[in-house]
Amino acid sequence: MNLIRWKGNSLLDPVREMERLQDEINRLFEFDRAESGIGLFDRAESPAIDVVERDDNYLVMCDLPGVQLSDLDVSAANNVLTIKGEKKGSRSTKGAKVYRTETWEGTFQRTVSLPSGIDAGRIGAELSSGTLTVTVPKREEDRPKRITVKVM
């Protein structure tokens, strides 16, 4: 099973990519990068996941504390499972003094290549206590079969 960290931009043209990187490094010195929503600072986070294989299904678990159900989008196409959405800030921070922030907010995306032999039509997802659990059932014929041997 392959996992692809989402890069966002096209990596097809290396020269273009180098120029873009150069631009971004130059932009670092402009001290106003906070608002620029592209490039190195686009803050598209890849949340951590666990993938567990069980006899009948795969479980993909992802920690998304503070993400509302309406801001979450789980989709599967061509054996690629995509978890994306937006994590919005806690509350209005107007007038609040912030002492310390270790958490992130903004958009996130994570892509998981699923193995063949899954039943994409029956993928289920559940968000509970800030943990997303996606259940990907295996197709009937790909499940391990128990063959009972009869003693004659």
Binding site: V51, V52, L59, D63, L64, G66, S90, R100, S129, G130
Partner: protein
Amino acid sequence: MNTKELETTDRGIRYDRPLGRISEDEGVVLLRLEMPGVAKEGLTIDVDGDLLVVTGVRAEQENSGRYLVRERPRFNFRRTYTLDETVDRNRIDAELSNGVLTVSLHLKEEVKPRKIEVKGR
């Protein structure tokens, strides 16, 4: 509120440290801790003298299968903060929603900025 942290390893039990955000607004210090997988039943918040100890027991991890990828923290959460004199020990509220714990620490009345009304004659 002092944000100094302490290492918490009592009797060799390992904990993961939840990520937090501390802000202050209108006399209330808001401590927001991300504890995914922790339900209300698994959460304990203790105030012991100057220490605020938050412990969150994660829901049972999946262990009937084989982990192909394992990136998430796997231990229970614990984090300790020290409270200073300005926090009213009797007015601490906590709320857990979507795996995010918000602890509201009210400051004592006498340390809040006070507006003095000027009486005109």
